[in-house]
Amino acid sequence: MPLLSVSGLQVRYGAVEAVRGVDFEINEGEIVTLLGANGAGKSSTLNALVGLVPVAGGRVVFDGEDITDHAPERLAPMGMTLSPEGRRVFGTLTVEENLRMGAYGITDKAAISAAWERVFDLFPILHERRAQFAGTLSGGQQQMLAVGRALMSGPRLLLLDEPSLGLAPKIVEQVFDLIALLRDQGVTLVVVEQNVGMALEVADRGYVLSGGEITTRGTARELAEAGDLQAAYLGAD
């Protein structure tokens, strides 16, 4: 049984159909990437999965439970969370408070202290800066905080929306190393990316979205070998 299965997912903003009947599955332990140009419906898909935008049609099943109409606050305790596009750390809260909020929905004290240890282990810089306001961190540090905050709930499925957006190339590499590391730690990941090359390097499988529909699917190697992907589906850089 897949960890997450999405069938016929639709998202509408007024008259605009952003996602038109998307089907895909995520298996435990995988890294799956959703690729596509701006406005292809990638972020809308992720936001619909976690309930930030209403699902207009279709079904989302996580770990055997239908979560199609679940409010966002119910998902983190179930083991699924999203690190949103643009990082969106709480800039007026300290690093420590941001992380504390990440574990808000978790009641298991042992799990929370393990999460603190894990996050500070992964990101020593966050420990160093824990008393600082998140708004004063650099872009790369904010991305680490955003991922760290998401990890505080001990997710089994972590959705990352454009984790490399606006970061320096060296930091982008660190982000993708981190994604691989998290998978090795047993986290299943869905990564939305515009950085196709890096995404396919780390992912097991991928889906290409265009105009709110999945146009291509396959293993990362198949997609990478399709070569003209960048030009055909994403609009060449």
């Binding site: 976690v50 930030l52 409010a71 966002p72 606050e73 119910r74 998902l75 983190a76 305790p77 969370t81 999203l82 949103p84 969106r88 709480f90 800039g91 007026t92 809260l93 408070e97 941001n98 504390r100 909020m101 990440g102 574990a103 808000y104 929905g105 978790i106 708004g135 905050r149 709930s153």
Partner: protein, 297 residues
């Protein structure tokens, strides 16, 4: 000099009350973008509770917590009954709703209690004065200043140490992401209203203890002032609400004390002109909100 110090004490007492009220408005506004004009009616509810509790012979030490509790319960009920259904409406929808709530409550007070002002029994000590280094200070003023300080410390600790308080700050900055963390929208919003009720209740007790009476429109003037204070301080900013409350208190009291006799009838317009001048220089208020304009879902 003595007169000046005397008036400064008065300004601290009045400004503190404005600050508590402005904070109540700001806590709710920062989280759900609602300017709750029915905040004044929370004060009135508190005032009537104080009156009935006094009339029933309860000791003041019991009626005060009761009065504060009444405002908190009323605030949470207000959110549940009136504001939750329009939570996703526009700012204008919520504003009109709050006017409706205020008017309905005023009419209920007028018809079910009395349109006229009612006396509230207060302990005699509140109307006494003490001599402090040549100054004569009313006990009620000292109580008001002390209560304000206690409430400000409490609020600061709550917002920086308590999980719910931090969650309220997170939700004020980015409600959608806060929900992703598992922070329940209903919890933080109900929490914000309970907190605003607590602040309104304390302010009401202080307000009534300066006047010893309560009437159906009691809450209108102080909350209008608190609204001005919140804008002056920076709408949505908690520190701003405190700064604005004290600033307005000082402006009002000093004008009343030091404006020449023949200009006293222009006191309020002069006071408001000062507020407008400050806003011309600092359009976002004394302590602007750092998160105003943040995405809200």
């Amino acid at each position: 000099m003595d007169l000046f110090l005397q008036q400064t004490t008065n300004a601290l007492a009045l400004g503190g009350t404005y600050a508590l009220l402005a904070l109540g408005l700001a806590v709710v506004f920062s989280i759900m973008g609602l300017i709750n004009f029915a905040h004044g009616e929370l004060m009135t509810i508190s005032g009537y509770t104080l009156m009935y509790a006094g009339a029933a012979g309860l000791p003041f030490a019991v009626s005060v917590p009761l009065a504060i509790l009444a405002a908190m319960v009323a605030a949470v009920a207000m959110e549940r009954i009136a504001f939750r259904p329009v939570r996703n409406g526009s700012g204008a929808t919520m504003l009109i709703t709050s006017f409706a709530v205020a008017m309905i409550l005023q009419v209920l007070f007028q018809n079910l209690i009395s349109a006229r002002s009612q006396a509230v029994l207060l302990p005699a000590i509140l109307s006494e004065s003490v001599h402090v280094g040549g100054l004569i200070i009313g006990v009620n003023k000292i109580v008001a200043i002390a209560a304000t300080v206690v409430m400000l410390i409490f609020l600061d600790q709550f917002m920086s140490k308590q999980k719910t308080g931090i969650a309220m700050r997170a939700a004020a900055e980015d409600f959608a992401v806060a929900r992703l963390m598992g922070i329940r929208a209903n919890t933080v919003i109900a929490g914000a209203f309970a907190l605003s009720g607590l602040l309104a209740g304390v302010a009401a007790v202080l307000w009534v203890s300066q006047r010893a009476s309560v009437d159906p429109l009691m809450g209108f003037t102080p909350v209008l002032k608190a609204f001005i204070a919140a804008i002056l301080g920076g709408l949505g900013s908690l520190r701003g609400a405190v700064a604005g409350g004290f600033a307005l208190g000082f402006i009002e009291v000093y004008l009343a004390a030091f404006l020449p006799q023949h200009m006293q009838e222009f006191r309020d317009p002069i006071g408001l002109s000062i507020v407008v001048l400050i806003l011309l220089v600092r359009p976002n208020g004394l302590v602007p909100s750092r998160v105003l304009g943040a995405i809200k879902v």
